[in-house]
Homo-oligomer: 275 residues x 2
């Protein structure tokens, strides 16, 4: 999938919503707990009820990994289900991987070939050769951590490197890397004030924006500061949607919350003259 | 396992060798290729032939992950095999994980509970709350990336933050975190000249040192600059040992190379008055 395809989908669905799949059995409705294949069954119902309102799904790999083999089997099934039934969907492996080049190649193989994700989140700390193996895949995207939404983002990402912050240095340097057009960037919604200056550095690239909802970021501010003329942002919500209800109506409620977000997003797309 | 236990093992085996398990079927001897369960069978033979000469095993998670479910099954078997037959061994999940706190908890659960590793490598980019969930496990160690052995290490790790380098800032700040005694640090052997100043910052902590062998680092320099009075270093070799031969004598040759390294390490331990 290309970003042009993604933009077409954004216009068609009037949404730039990404639904994060943070599967946590302890938060499942009682009737699903400890049932065989419940990770997949939960995701399948969430997907069917939200697919009309979102353009991307973001399985959070840690949550699958925590369940061992069962988790990996479920992740395979989830990806097969999305790719078969909703092939237009942009899929993000929220894996935050990266290692020396020789090893990053294996992670790229796992997520781009084995699971057939469209993109993966990657940590920049190890530099160019830890990221480029992901960028060699045509029509696949590498979503580099720039400025994250968590408390610890201030520890190093906001450290001053010369007359700029480390996350700005990360963005600037990454633009020199091979196939840098296939980069996207994670910028937390809780750091909306930084979006304007980030847009000056990377006017064209897509941003993946977590932190709206549970973490406190504002959708309006994010759109105001982050949107470009191809939309250019994907706003993620995980817990706010998939755990909107812990009762048997969880899928229906997830759909309702996703629809509410889609309607707000539609307004913002109209305000920004994208629709 | 505690670092005191690790030090006892180092003295008993007269070695500070860590063997990296980067399983790559393309480099297996012909008779093992495309055979069922060959990832585990390869590792089992390597382990049996090297366990006498090393104190730690470091499965490189990406290499298992690249094989999908088969890879994860093999990793489970490898860890069960090590923990059953060589319970004295210090095990390192070379996973380079980290995410927001809520998600890092899941990675900690996967590696410390599900697989029962003694330690895991973790990336510092997302800061305190991305690392602390790993540090809450008693007698488990979190090996923070400081200065890595790859080319891209110069991109950000060596960036000047005030009057120091980013990797020094990472080390200093991490010492303020909860249970920081359970930290170890990755410092590449290709950066041996930095080891002296790193030792001034963290005289007591163990360092995991990759990059001897295939990547060109020197064992002698690493010992000269990095060792403390509890040894304090684990030197990793992966390809140089496990692919010492691509013929049917691969396990025997791996044992020979590991033994050669152990003998050099014994000399260095004597020179540093640890033996």
């Amino acid at each position: 999938m290309t970003t042009a395809d993604l933009f077409e989908q954004i216009k068609a669905k009037q949404s730039f919503l990404c639904v994060g799949l943070d599967v946590d059995q302890d938060r499942f409705p009682v009737e699903l707990r400890d049932k065989p294949d419940n990770l997949f069954n939960f995701c399948q119902k969430i997907i069917d009820s939200t697919a009309h309102y979102c353009v991307a799904y973001k399985p959070n790999i840690a949550f699958f990994e925590a369940y061992g083999l069962e988790g990996w089997k479920s992740l395979e099934k989830v990806m097969q289900y999305i790719n078969r039934h909703y092939p237009e969907m942009f899929t993000i492996a929220d894996a935050k991987r990266a290692d020396i080049g020789n090893t990053s190649k294996r992670y790229a193989k796992a997520y781009f070939e084995h699971f057939d994700f469209d993109s993966i989140t990657v940590s920049p700390y190890m530099g160019v050769d830890s990221v480029e193996p992901f960028l060699t895949y045509e029509d696949k995207y590498t979503i580099l951590l720039a400025l994250t939404s968590n408390k610890g983002a201030t520890d190093f990402q906001l450290a001053s490197v010369g007359n700029q912050k480390l996350y700005e240095e990360v963005i600037k340097k990454s633009l020199e890397w091979q196939n840098s057009k296939q980069l996207m960037y994670v910028v937390g919604a809780t750091k909306a004030e930084a979006l304007q200056s980030i847009r000056q550095l990377i006017p064209e690239h897509f941003l993946l924006i977590p932190g709206v909802g549970a973490q406190g970021g504002s959708l309006e501010e994010v759109a105001l500061n982050g949107m470009n003329n191809q939309c250019g942002i994907l706003v993620n919500s995980s817990r706010g949607i998939i755990y909107a209800s812990s009762e048997s109506d969880y899928a229906e409620k997830a759909g309702s919350v996703a629809r509410e977000m889609q309607q707000k997003m539609r307004e913002l797309l109209i305000q920004n003259q994208i629709l």
